[in-house]
């Protein structure tokens, strides 16, 4: 390992043994390039899906470029590839310098880098192919999930190893933020992705319905918290003092900021499920903790901004500080808005609308984007050991990017509020003012075009950024200078408290903290415990107390054909636009029918409640339209509703059903405890019988013939089943002749 190779020891004048070492900046350069490349790719995919919402022709008529498949590619690329690589880039640079030690192992650093890029490539291939677990930001299928776990553990070992070898006694607060991020992301990733494989790239979530929803948003919200917030706060606490030329405004405040976030964030997830079938106590806990988060978040924002005290004049001619100031302000704005959106009555309006998309982009473009840009502009001259190619271009990037964000979010906030208000509008006679869902979409199209303009500006900024990086890199020296750093080794730890204090040390927070804060592994373990214990307080009751998920006798599993139809629904990413969760609010039940009950989704592995209604809710879709209507609608939605923005799926009528996989899917579901009974043994025959019946009905009503072995009958079988069980007088016949009741 390069570390041992480059470490030497010398004695200084006073006889203290000094160790010689160097920082590994090659890895920082690698992550920097990856950040810029994947960032550009992820944002361009974002632009394409923004165009698709403004005009469905941008779906290009190909299954792998349709919105449902590309939307997860966009979110995964910008979160895990752009923000992820940016975090690693800044963390590798700052960790070594804050700990006065080279990374524990250069080999692990390289493994982390190449492993992570391979995962990104795997995501970019599998998501357009429709291989997905259908859980937001956890779409990647199980083999990739395993790879993520391995790479993440390598990163964790490398990081903890560096902490153990450090030459600085205390751990700076940025390091705490990194540790919390690393351990929490590991816990979230593992528990949310537990699943039963039903093939090389197909799996079903271990959890069902309410519990799956709970786990998903415990994960989903904390992915925002511990992948997009705490890592970047760590970066802020290192790079902001660097750029401002002075220490952070209040170190005390930064410690409170850290512990408050660690204590509070993990509880907040259920605010994504207000008014759904989640038990109300969980939703209320989520709301309360989210509102509490406002205080530490603003404390952190103020701490970041006030680091510029006495140096505000520098902002005028320093693009780096401009990026940081707007980035931290965006953190403040989105962490004010987040708690507000988690209040149930506000959420009732905002949920399922573009308001959430606007909220996310304030955070993602403003906070993550601008903090990354500021950090990289600061790093460029240092890691490429040359001058920044053009400060003017960086200034231009700042202004174009800022204008792009404003254009984007203002348009999309308007779209969200407009649609939310239209959904709930009643006329004087007590009927819905806009009973036709498409009307509420058509009204948004001008705002969608404005978003395309705003997003394009942000991408133009990104291209200027890339060009500036390229030109800076071109002026690098022929060989990078690797400065030798000298620092004494940490002497072995011995207790600061006298021997008398030792027996009661365990009772005193200060003493406890001082002794374990010196021991990074223990610190890591305790941070993990804080997060896990808090999670368990929410998870245990949701999973183990029966009253939380009342069952409904008439709810039975999907037939084998319906199950395969559901897999098509998952593959095409329908859940990205259609919810299956009717909230108990009058304007929802008027529009969609009886509100959704927790007992209805007990066999839903994974849950498909959705989080956004770009199209109408489908929870009670079954029986609303004849089979033939669905055949025509899938082939060309615009033929049925001229202004619909849904992509067309003509391939459903031509793609054959792979009958052999159906028994495997049923087996996997049975393993999860879904009571399939006899259906396990004759799944294929049952599916064929049901398919033939649907195909016959389509033909009899004047539709095309010969659809009995095409995917269209499977997805129709699924559509026609949705939401019907609770009104079924007896259990749906599953075992036996396999006919549709």
């Amino acid at each position: 390992m390069a570390d041992s190779a480059s470490t030497g020891t010398v004695q200084d004048g006073t006889g203290v043994i000094m160790e010689e070492f160097s920082y590994d900046d090659a890895i920082v350069r690698k992550f920097l390039f990856a950040t810029v490349i994947w960032g550009t790719v992820g944002m361009l995919v974002g632009l394409l899906i923004a165009l698709q919402m403004a005009d469905p022709r941008f779906n290009l008529g190909l299954s792998f470029t349709s919105f449902g498949r590309l939307r997860p590619l966009h979110t995964n690329a910008v979160i895990f590839a752009f923000a992820g690589n940016a975090f690693f880039c800044g963390a590798y640079y700052s960790t070594q310098r804050l700990l006065k030690a080279r990374m524990f192992s250069d080999a692990l650093s390289k493994f982390h880098f190449w492993g992570w890029q391979a995962i990104i490539v795997a995501a970019a291939v599998t998501l357009p192919l429709g291989l997905t677990q259908a859980k937001e930001y956890a779409e990647l299928e199980w083999p990739i999930d395993l790879a993520i776990a391995v790479v993440w553990v390598a990163f964790a070992i490398n990081f903890i190893g560096t902490m153990i070898r450090r030459r600085e006694r205390h751990l700076y607060v940025a390091i705490w933020f990194y540790i919390a991020s690393i351990v929490t992301v590991a816990v979230l990733h593992i528990f949310n992705n537990l699943s039963v494989p039903a093939g090389a790239f197909k799996s079903y979530s271990l959890y069902a319905g309410v519990q799956d929803a709970f786990m998903q948003w415990w994960y989903g919200h904390n992915a925002v918290a511990f992948f997009l917030t705490t890592p970047f706060l760590g970066l802020m606490y290192y790079f902001m003092p660097k750029a401002a030329g002075g220490p952070v405004f209040s170190y005390r405040l930064s410690i409170l900021h850290f512990w408050s976030l660690v204590f509070l964030y993990i509880w907040a997830g259920p605010h994504h499920l207000h008014y759904t079938a989640l038990p109300e106590w969980a939703s209320t806990v989520g709301m309360l903790f989210s509102v509490m988060l406002w205080a530490p978040s603003w404390g952190g924002m103020i701490n970041g901004l006030l680091t510029l005290r006495g140096a505000w004049q520098k902002v005028v001619d320093d693009p780096i500080l401009k990026f940081f100031v707007v980035g931290i302000t965006a953190y403040g704005m989105s962490t004010f808005e987040g708690p507000m959106l988690s209040i149930k009555s506000v959420n009732a309006l905002a949920h399922y609308t573009d308001w959430i998309i606007a909220h996310v982009h304030t955070g993602a473009l403003g906070w993550n984007g601008f903090m990354t840009f500021g950090m990289i502009y600061w790093l460029l001259p240092r890691i490429f050991q040359t001058k920044l190619f053009s400060k003017k271009l960086a200034e231009l990037h700042f202004w174009i990017g800022t204008f792009g964000i404003i254009l984007y979010v203002v348009a999309i906030y308007s779209a969200g509020v407009t649609q939310g208000l239209m959904w709930r509008a009643f006329d004087a006679t007590g009927r819905l003012t806009y009973p036709d869902f498409v009307e509420t979409v058509t009204r948004l199209i001008p705002m969608y075009w404005t978003r395309v303009a705003g997003g394009s500006l942000f991408i133009v900024g990104m291209l200027l950024f890339s060009y500036n990086i390229l030109r800076t890199w071109q002026s690098r020296p022929a060989r990078y200078d690797v400065p030798v750093v000298k620092a004494p080794r940490l002497t072995p730890v011995h207790r600061e408290d006298g021997p008398k204090a030792a027996p009661i040390a365990g009772l005193l927070p200060a003493a406890v903290h001082r002794s374990w804060e010196r021991k990074p592994i223990l610190f890591t373990v305790l941070t993990a415990l804080t997060v896990i214990v808090a999670s368990l307080f929410e998870i245990i009751p949701t999973f183990l107390i029966k009253s939380n998920v009342p069952t409904i006798a008439s709810v039975t599993p999907y037939t084998p054909l319906e199950l395969y139809g559901r897999d098509i629904y998952i593959r095409e990413g329908c859940v990205n636009c259609h919810s299956q969760m009717i909230r108990p609010l009058r304007y929802e039940t008027e529009r969609y029918g009886e509100y959704s009950k927790p007992g209805e989704s007990v066999y839903e592995h994974p849950f498909l409640w959705g989080s956004r209604r770009i199209g109408p809710d489908l929870a009670r879709e079954g029986g609303k339209y004849p089979n033939l209507w669905h055949v025509r609608h899938f082939a060309n939605p615009q033929e049925i509703a001229a202004n619909s923005i849904m992509p067309s799926y003509p391939q459903f009528a031509t793609t054959p059903i792979p009958w052999a996989v159906i028994p495997k899917r049923v087996d996997a579901m049975a393993m999860l405890g879904v009571p399939y009974g006899e259906a396990i043994n004759n799944a294929e025959a049952m599916a064929r019988t049901q398919a033939a019946a649907i195909a016959a009905d389509i033909e009899a009503s004047g539709g095309p013939a010969g659809l009995e072995d095409r995917e269209i009958v499977a997805i129709i079988a699924y559509m026609q089943r949705l939401g019907r069980d609770i009104s079924a007088p007896t259990a749906v016949a599953l075992v036996g002749d396999g006919e549709q009741p």
């Binding site: 920082y23 700052s94 310098r97 804050l98 006065k100 030459r167 600085e168 006694r169 205390h170 700076y172 607060v173 940025a174 606490y237 290192y238 003092p241 660097k242 030329g245 002075g246 220490p247 952070v248 170190y251 005390r252 410690i255 409170l256 512990w259 408050s260 204590f263 750093v485 620092a487 004494p488 940490l490 002497t491 072995p492 730890v493 011995h494 600061e496 006298g498 927070p509 200060a510 903290h513 808090a534 307080f537 245990i540 009751p541 999973f543 183990l544 107390i545 029966k546 009253s547």
Partner: protein, 64 residues
């Protein structure tokens, strides 16, 4: 008897109160630790860490 039966009948609603007390106590402990006058100098020196990439602020253990 299944685990879920045991958990359902165990009267676990007190969990929430226990959690509240534990977490509030832990948090109060942290506040006390942060604002303890004895730690003031430490925070000052820790805050300097990002500003010097080459020299540790507190390289060695304090001698007893």
């Amino acid at each position: 008897m299944k685990l879920s039966d045991i958990m359902s009948n165990a009267g676990l609603s007190v969990f929430a109160e226990v959690a509240l007390v534990l977490f509030v106590l832990a948090f109060l402990g942290i506040i006390w630790w942060v604002f303890r006058p004895g730690n003031a100098r430490r925070w000052e020196s820790d805050a300097q860490m990002p500003l010097d990439d080459l020299h540790p602020q507190q390289p060695r253990q304090r001698e007893e």
